[in-house]
Symmetry: C2
Subunit: 342 residues, 2 copies
DNA sequence: AATCGATGCGTAAACGCTTACACAGCCATA
DNA sequence: TATGGCTGTGTAAGCGTTTACGCATCGATT
């Protein structure tokens, strides 16, 4: 059913129906009520494409991410997408997914999106090599907006940015461990460069602890890497009484290696990890880890984008999401120390 | 840039440009090449909404699922969505997500989708209480198509169905376990009714094994439930030498309980689970489990939908996806038997 | 040379909505 | 009673495509 047919059917013009739908323009409250009610009764819904064409917008935003990724970065995407989807659907927007294989596709796909008016704005996640001048060009056109997730903020109008600040969670780790009485703390990293180690070092030192260079090992990405790292780290005596592992996935392997060395978690050695992936609550014992709230990240990003799209002011162009420690069962005071000694 | 502007710019009419784009209608090969090349150069992309309006379709399909679900049914959704997305984007279609909170929203949301022409078809996942007559009404209109995932096939034109058949994987479990020499096999179920137990019983029996009633326990959904079930099951002597656990999540808890009882996996007891969730490869030892290929399920669903939408014949209206066993490290021959004895 | 079908292209009418503008009715003012 | 503003509604011109139709042009047939 078209708006014209429907309008004739209820004895008004299409313009009146349109005004009733949008609540804009001059229309009497009674007429509006009547129209809305009869819409409900007769089941008329305006054609989305015609609306979008007339409005010159699409009420949709795109999510651009690197597709074909590994399981765990999928996990992170899921949560992000869920946060985005929630906000979006409550605003009547649609979400278009755009997995890109390699970074260079990004440009052409995003360009096509904007030129075809498929989306009003986009959220692009975490590619370190988005050229700023390219964004500038893209965005300059027709009020298109972009929000970048997990990226330093570019100085471009209509580009927003939400970043993740890991320092809060890291500080909480240091605080907990030191309060428990740990002094010598080990570190298993993932990939370099890694801004987390200096953070943790600083926090630990101000609380009287120390991360000795001998107790720092860099692993890779898999549980196997974590196991190797743990073996290397704990082979060097004296051992730390606690070890921070950069990711939960590494930690799973590390814990396994630790058990195989005949050590008990957390009594012999405490383990604290990072990310809080879903299976972290299922390890044995359940993993104490830093939660990264990707859902919140998505929510922030899309809220920012919508604000920019709808020209509500003032728009904050930069927002930061923090992390926080989730205490489960892999961290405890070391055996030879009184807890809370300092 | 509009098609009109672009056409003038390159010295033809908008009709010619349109014909070049679609490769339909009477147009000389040279002109077509020229137009396409200049499109590339000048960066012209047709307005999607205008196209959709003129074509009376949207080149988009919707995915309707129960939102706000738990972590693990999310896992399943992810994989499903990935499978769908892959096929879709290779056909130039977009995917619209539609999480619904409760089953009753399903109807109104889907109706709105169709009436607003937001999508050409939909994939609705796994709600047992979709009324068939409602589907019939929905689908009757304008060649709208629906594919249901994980649902018995309804006898409605333009409704397809893809289901999951667990029997293959279950048969493989029985075969492996019996070939290893296990005779007494235990079963930890999740929620009743459970069609898997009879399947497994049958397969095991034909191979000379047995699932005694005393070795069947029903647990719930969480690892804790799995632990309790394992304790109950293994408390009853004589013990089975292998146990099948209905879900990986339960299995995690069960394995923990088994370890706490001083038993070793797989030497003292073999554990085989079902689902192959991502963390199954990270348990200790890595879990032997039945893989459910949700990505394949999604792929099948969307391929069916696209075939229906594009009226390609013959269209299979029902398709089944099978499961298969993934052997990792929690199943081995029992100690007192020679492997492959039969 | 006249006719004809085929071919390549342009013109203009949809597609279903929004909205600027015009207009009629109405009340208040001069 | 004329004037003017205000209000509610209808008319029609967009929005940017697609496509039916018509009109040249051209080579092949009579």
């Amino acid at each position: 059913m078209t708006i014209e047919e429907f309008a004739r059917l209820i004895g008004v013009s299409s313009a009146t129906v349109s005004r009733a739908i949008h609540g804009r323009g001059r229309i009497s409250p009674q007429t509006r009520q009547m129209v809305l009610q009869r819409m409900e009764e007769l089941g008329f819904t305006p054609n989305l494409h015609a609306q979008n064409l007339a409005h010159r917008r699409s009420r949709a935003v795109g999510l651009e991410y690197l597709g074909h990724t590994e399981v765990l970065s999928d996990m992170f995407l899921i949560a992000l997408a869920r946060g985005i989807q929630r906000v979006l659907s409550s605003h009547g927007y649609n979400l278009l997914l755009n997995p890109v294989g390699i970074a260079s596709e990004r440009e052409s796909l995003l360009r096509r999106w904007t030129r075809s008016h498929a989306v009003d704005g986009a959220i692009v996640v975490g590619n370190p090599d988005v050229p700023v001048d390219w964004l500038q060009k893209l965005v300059g056109h027709r009020g298109f907006c972009v929000v970048i997730v997990h990226h330093p903020p570019p100085p471009v109008v209509n580009v927003g940015c939400v970043t993740l600040d890991l320092s809060r969670g890291i500080a909480q780790v240091a605080q907990m461990l030191c309060a428990m009485g740990h002094r010598a703390i080990g570190y298993i990293g993932s990939i370099q460069p890694d801004p987390v180690l200096p953070m943790l070092c600083g926090e630990v030192q101000t609380r009287g602890g120390v991360i000795s260079e001998r107790h720092v090992v860099y692993a890779g990405l898999t549980p196997g890497d974590g196991a190797n790292a743990a073996r290397a780290l704990l082979g060097r005596l004296p051992r730390p009484t606690a070890v921070f592992v950069r990711t939960d996935v590494l930690a799973v392997g590390a814990m396994q290696a630790i058990r195989e060395m005949g050590l008990c978690i957390p009594t012999d050695i405490s383990v604290v990890a990072h990310d809080d992936v879903p299976f972290a609550q299922f390890t044995d014992p359940p993993l104490t880890t830093v939660r990264v709230d990707y859902e919140e990240l998505g929510k922030s990003a899309v809220e920012m984008l919508l604000a920019m799209l709808e020209r509500r002011e003032p728009v904050e162009r930069l927002r930061t999401v923090h992390t926080s420690l989730i205490q489960r069962a892999t961290a405890a005071p070391p055996l030879h120390h009184t807890p809370y000694q300092n």
